[in-house]
């Protein structure tokens, strides 16, 4: 998912990698090892102090931003030597790192001996999923680490762009004893800050001196957060502060930076202003040829949108501000690759060539919790898409998702706020809809009989919406025989001991406006249990895996779900001749507005049918819902285990 994300993810990423702290200890540390060891049992390391002190000043006719980072860490176990490699990451364009002072304090007798870090290597680095960016890495090794050792790190960061200040996290996965973020700025500067996930853990203090104001944010001791699967991003639950410059005075003139969404939008437009929007006959010709047979505007949009999805591959260059400025559409067209903003810009250009109004949209994916009004900084978004108005409704188009149909937003931006660029001076904030569960269907139906101990039958798998998109993404990776093999394996029938034959994918499975339908014949061995003249059969030929119980005792975070779904399993079982039904499972159901299921058995003539329906109508299962979720999951699980009992009639 992150591979499609561009620009501003970098800032969040940067901060998380860097634990920062207080003054590099110049004198003997004063630490009661046993105290920490008792307070953080089972932990290998804790952060004694972390801090960032940002100093903003105006000098030489320019704004100067200098941040001093400090981190002191204490190693609690014999595994200390595992932590001796250290890296500081930063983006070359946005900051410089200098004056790195790092050392280990090694307990020897009742004193600490200081070992300075030797060479620091600066090298090119790279974020995963990006083709090229300007991420840099300063690497060094802490000497002599062992149990009880302390490491001290201090360095200075020079920030080059007032639009990009760091956020600061007061706690993380590692226990943190003391944390402090301090910012000093000229008293004629307006500075805004947003505190998230405070819960009383952050103290704020404001101090004024002659020409400056100082804000100090202090965090409380924190035992560390748990890493959990399907948890929301850290920014949803870890206490942190975001600071941004509203405006300041330079040479007696007021300079606005990020006072509100309008200001942010203005700056984004500023970055786009060099795009030429020249008329290119090739783009015009392409738009014409793609829309030639389209009779409605919607058909035209689809033809162009799908062409960009198919033909422009995702490769991201994020070199400095290049991470924020799209390439010329003609360039993206010629190269046949681009990142999200390149694709969105080409898509808009082609639509314009076809006479259709379309707009660029800045947006943050679900990993970012802020709205534009809360945090009007580049930290709020990390993605760009395009939008059109269709029958009075906004339709969002993400050309980085190759198999996404027109009309659906990418699942990762559902419910998020998009900043739509109407004109260079006008924008709109519109919330992307959450795709209803009815759209995302995954259905299976089976017609089966029993032949000896063998289940034989025909199956149909049906998928629409996001499930169909996912199947198409997977099918892209496999071809020919491998494709049939992959489909066969992913059917996951019965106990796994099955053979599917005559697997047929519908002709237009990869037509985005269609669904995926797979037809096949199959046999399952050893799935029914026969004892004497009784036969036990489970009609749940596949397991529904999206609805598993949550370990309530241990779980700390909400559980995120990629998209809402509606799934269905229908099995029609022809009772073999000479058998009668001894026992039919009872029908069951659970339902609330957020999730539910129903299981129904019925008999007509010599057919038993099972109809099971499950829906999940939320993108996040919150802790408050956990009990209900587990009740439903437990009932569904039990119901899925129920057996039919048949008995052989006496001849």
């Amino acid at each position: 998912m992150t591979s499609r994300i561009n620009f501003c993810v970098r800032i969040v990423f940067l901060t998380l990698l860097l634990p920062f702290t207080h003054q590099a200890a110049a004198q003997q540390p004063d630490v009661n090892f046993d105290d920490f060891n008792q307070r953080y049992p089972g932990q290998d390391v804790c952060i004694l102090k972390k801090s960032e002190h940002l100093d903003i000043s105006v000098s030489g006719g320019a704004l100067k931003l200098k941040s001093v980072h400090n981190t002191d860490m204490l190693f609690l176990t014999d595994k200390a030597s595992m932590f001796l490699n250290k890296s500081i990451y930063y983006y070359d364009h946005f900051s410089d790192i200098k004056d790195i002072k790092a050392n280990s304090w090694i307990p020897e007798g009742d004193k600490y001996k200081k070992y300075n870090v030797g060479d620091i290597t600066f090298k090119k680095s790279k974020r995963d999923g990006v083709f090229y960016d300007d991420l840099m890495e300063a690497q060094f090794v802490y000497p002599s680490l062992k149990k009880g050792a302390i490491t001290s790190l201090q360095y200075t960061e020079i920030l080059h762009d007032p639009h990009f200040l760091n956020d600061f996290y007061f706690a993380g996965y590692t226990p943190t004893e003391n944390s402090e973020y301090r910012i000093t700025f000229p008293d004629d500067m307006k500075l805004n800050y947003v505190i998230r996930n405070n819960n009383g853990s952050i103290q704020f203090k404001e101090e004024r001196s002659k020409h400056t104001i100082t804000y100090t944010f202090t965090g409380k001791s924190n035992g560390g957060y748990k890493r959990e699967d399907d948890a929301p991003d850290n920014s949803y639950f870890m206490p942190h502060v975001i600071v941004y410059i509203d405006k300041y005075t330079l040479n007696n003139k007021e300079v606005k930076v990020l006072s509100d969404v309008g200001e942010l939008y203005g700056w984004y437009q500023e970055l786009l202003k060099n795009l030429k929007h020249e008329n290119h006959p090739e783009l015009k010709a392409l738009a014409d040829s793609l829309t030639r047979n389209a009779s409605t505007e919607r058909e035209k949009i689809k033809a162009i949108y799908y062409w960009v999805q198919d033909q422009i591959k995702y490769i991201a260059f994020e070199d400095g501000l290049g991470g924020f400025i799209p390439r010329e559409p003609i360039e993206t067209y010629n190269k046949r690759f681009g990142d999200c903003k390149d694709k969105a810009t080409l898509l808009n250009e082609l639509l314009h060539e076809a006479g259709i109004k379309s707009y660029p949209v800045w947006i943050g994916t679900r990993s970012i919790p802020y709205t534009y009004n809360e945090v009007p900084t580049p930290m709020v978004d990390n993605h760009m898409i395009a939008a059109v108005q269709d029958s009075g409704k906004w339709v969002f188009m993400d050309a980085t998702a190759q198999h996404l149909p027109y009309g659906l937003p990418t699942s990762m931006i559902q419910g998020k706020e998009g900043l739509i660029g109407i004109s260079p001076s006008e924008y709109k904030l519109v919330t992307v809809p959450e795709t209803p569960y009815e759209t995302n269907k995954q259905e299976e139906s089976f017609g089966i009989t029993l032949d000896g101990g063998l289940i034989k039958g025909r199956g149909i798998t049906y998928a629409s919406g996001y499930p169909a998109e996912l199947i198409n993404e997977a099918l892209d990776q496999v071809n020919g025989d491998k494709r049939t093999e992959w489909i066969n394996k992913s059917l996951g029938l019965g106990n796994g001991k099955y053979k599917a034959t005559g697997i047929q994918l519908n002709k237009d499975y990869n037509n985005r406006d269609s669904s995926v339908i797979i037809n096949y014949d199959f046999e399952i061995q050893d799935f029914v249990t026969t004892v004497g003249d009784q036969v036990y059969v489970n009609l749940n030929l596949t397991k529904y895996s999206n609805f598993e119980k949550i370990d309530i005792d241990k779980r700390e975070n909400d559980k995120e779900i990629d998209f809402k779904t509606s799934s269905k399993l229908e099995t029609v079982f022809k009772i073999p001749e000479g058998y009668e039904i001894v026992k039919l499972p009872s029908s069951q159901a659970y339902s609330n507005p957020k999730f539910g299921f129903s299981v129904n058995y019925s008999v007509t003539d010599n057919m038993i049918s099972l109809k099971k329906e499950v829906y999940v109508n939320v993108l996040t299962v919150t802790k408050a819902d956990f009990n209900d979720w587990n009740t439903a999951a437990g009932q569904l699980y039990d119901a899925s285990k129920d057996l039919i009992v048949l008995k052989k009639l006496n001849p």
Partner: protein, 648 residues
């Protein structure tokens, strides 16, 4: 290859002035013809085709009479499937600066004939997995397009080359050449298939050329297979220099001597530090050589990190800073072991998943991983891998050959004497997973209660022990949950106890044990008053090979091992149990050293089920696949067994 060859380099230089030679590949270029290839039916069925995959390693003497080397790669690719574009639109160059790329041309040609040619100035420098590369994004690539490129880069002079001629993509024409001054005699050996060879001398240049047409795709996804080692591969080595002594160069004996030298460079200079560390670890006071070996290993593995980037002057500085190069760390082991008079041999080998170490062909490219061998006990140690301790090594080395280097002293002179032999000493009894499960039923037959004890020996613990040892409390409990959870969808565990996980203590020689009590409704299915119990699932989910296609790769089971499971089921009062006969299974292939058996006996209200499974051989030929699959699937079939409790 871990040997720094510096001392060996100079003798290959010519001792007299020569006219500097030109590189043949200096004028290499792409063909001017950009017409698309005509594909055969086989090729049309492939997602993409490597029409040409050509690799040329060239050597020449410069004006000083020193050897220089360049490498040329030329590829032509036809894309049939749009999804393949993403595999080819990023080209990596194995250099860290643009100056090392001597020439480069790269073009895409669409079906309609539109040509896009890339520029060298678009190259970008990146670092991935600690390696520097130059990369280029390929423009204009789409379905039915062709990509053709070549580049020539400077490379360090090496005397051993490895090149693959098979992959997951169909190759129409594979070619590897070594071009060198005529006095240098190269030898080559192909593995996993034959290639056509020509050896010619033209104008003082020797050209050794290997080719193969229509190389089939090798499936990389088969289970129990050593994919990389099974790919068609060619190894080259410089064997003789006719202007020199003309004796065979780089023999196994030479390698052994050189390793000995490297390991003993600091024998004198670090002597004091070695003595000091030995006394700090109280080696003399320890009761046995094994205890001393463990003490040395624990100290090094818990305190010293391997870091090839940081410059550390030698062992004294390494001991102070707690980090150093791999060679320095291994040298520290050897000097410590010698100081304690513990007999040992250095073993240099390679993973058998990468290549089978061929004793008949002395290329030093097989020499890339260190082990230590202790002849007194027949045990091995991996000195640099902190996940393993003395007595157990990563199984990738088992069954491969290795270069064993032993110290031999004549008078005051010591030397390294070497021999190539198999890394043996691990049998299937060393690696095991035992399960003992006492099974009863609770809550009106809604839940099964299993008091279980799992024992893992040797490699069979899947590194559970190591991961457990190195993890913090949170990850430990997560991991144990995962081990147990693999059997049960919905469960509650109580009385969990984990033993013998401390790698630094003697308990390491005992099996890793996880004991727990699980309560779960997962294995129970109700049908009226009858209850169906999935007894087969108690042994955990087994690998299934029900859907396999025709086998390509020989079988590699990783390491020899066995399973022994005893399940004791107490039949609940008032119930009669049915379906026991399914528990009798006997699928054994003694000729292959593998089998699966299951049987039961009744003892009052108890049913005692004994399940055995064993794999005595690490490797088996393709021809054994059908029977091997039967054993694998026997375990998976056991998973499907259910008992029915009927109200009596």
């Amino acid at each position: 290859m871990k040997i720094r060859l510096i001392t060996l380099l100079t003798f290959l230089s010519l001792q007299f002035a020569v006219k500097a030679q030109e590189f043949e590949t200096q004028t290499y270029d792409l063909p001017s013809d950009t017409k698309h290839a005509v594909l055969t039916d086989t090729e049309k069925a492939e997602p993409s085709v490597l029409l040409l995959d050509k690799n040329i390693y060239e050597y020449r003497y410069n004006k000083d009479g020193d050897l220089e080397s360049v490498y040329t790669k030329h590829r032509k690719i036809h894309i049939n499937d749009a999804a393949e574009v993403e595999h080819y639109n990023r080209i990596y160059f194995p250099v860290n600066n643009p100056e090392s790329i001597l020439s480069l041309r790269l073009r895409s040609v669409t079906k309609s004939g539109k040509i896009t040619e890339m520029k060298k100035s678009d190259l970008k420098k990146i670092t991935e997995d600690d390696h520097d590369y130059m990369i280029l994004a390929v423009e204009g690539l789409e379905k039915d397009a062709e990509l053709e490129y070549f580049f020539t880069i400077k490379r360090g002079v090496t005397y051993f080359l490895t090149e693959f001629a098979q992959s997951g993509t169909f190759i129409r024409h594979a070619e590897v050449q070594v071009i060198s001054p005529a006095n240098l005699i190269w030898e080559a050996k192909t593995y996993n298939g034959e290639m056509a060879v020509t050896d010619t001398v033209i104008n003082d240049k020797r050209i050794l050329k290997y080719t193969r047409e229509n190389v089939p795709v090798l499936d990389s996804e088969e289970k129990y297979a050593a994919y990389t080692a099974n790919r068609q591969r060619i190894e080259f080595k410089l064997a003789r220099n006719t202007s020199g002594s003309n004796l065979r160069l780089f023999t196994w004996g030479d390698a052994g001597k050189r390793y000995y030298e490297i390991m003993h460079e600091e024998e004198k200079s670090a002597h004091k530090d070695i003595e000091k560390l030995s006394s700090q670890l109280s080696l003399k006071k320890l009761s046995s050589d094994e205890a001393r070996i463990r003490a040395i290993e624990n100290f090094i593995k818990m305190n010293i990190n391997i870091n090839e980037q940081a410059e550390v002057s030698g062992i004294p500085e390494l001991l102070k800073k707690h980090y150093g190069s791999e060679n320095q760390v291994v040298s520290l082991y050897i000097l410590m072991l010698e100081n304690a008079n513990i007999p040992h041999e250095l073993v240099v080998t390679t993973s058998r998943f990468d290549a089978w170490f061929d004793p008949e062909f002395d290329t030093w490219n097989f020499l890339d991983s260190y082990l230590l061998f202790f002849p007194a006990t027949g045990k091995y140690m991996d000195p640099t891998n902190i996940l393993y301790r003395y007595g157990e090594v990563p199984y990738e080395f088992i069954n491969n050959n290795g270069l064993f280097v032993k110290k031999v002293s004549i008078g005051a002179v010591s030397n390294g004497v070497s021999v190539v032999k198999k890394i043996e000493g691990v049998t299937y009894t060393d690696n095991f997973n035992k399960l003992n499960a006492e099974i009863t039923f609770e809550k009106n037959m809604d839940e099964v209660k299993i008091i279980s004890k799992q024992e893992y020996g040797g490699n069979a613990d899947n590194l559970y022990r190591t991961v457990y040892f190195y993890s913090d409390a949170e990850s430990r409990s997560k991991m144990i949950d995962e081990i147990i959870k693999s059997n049960f969808n919905d469960m509650k565990t109580t009385d969990t106890k984990v033993s013998n996980f401390d790698l630094t203590k003697d308990e390491y020689s005992k099996p890793f044990i996880v004991e727990t009590t699980v309560n779960s409704p997962s294995l129970m299915q109700h049908a009226g008053t009858d209850v169906v119990f999935s007894i087969g699932d108690v042994i955990g989910q087994q690998v299934e090979m029900y859907q396999e296609h025709a086998r390509q790769n020989p079988i590699d089971v990783g390491f020899p091992h066995y399973y022994e499971r005893v399940l004791v089921v107490t039949v609940p009062k008032g119930y009669e149990v049915k379906g026991l006969e399914k528990l009798e299974m006997d699928i054994v292939f003694n000729d292959l050293g593998t089998g699966f058996t299951s049987s039961y006996k009744r003892d009052g209200d108890k049913i005692i089920v004994t399940v055995n499974e064993f794999y005595k051989n690490v490797q088996l030929p393709v021809s054994a696949f059908d029977n091997f699959k039967k054993v694998i699937n026997a375990a998976a079939d056991f998973n499907k067994i259910k008992l029915v409790f009927v109200k009596s």
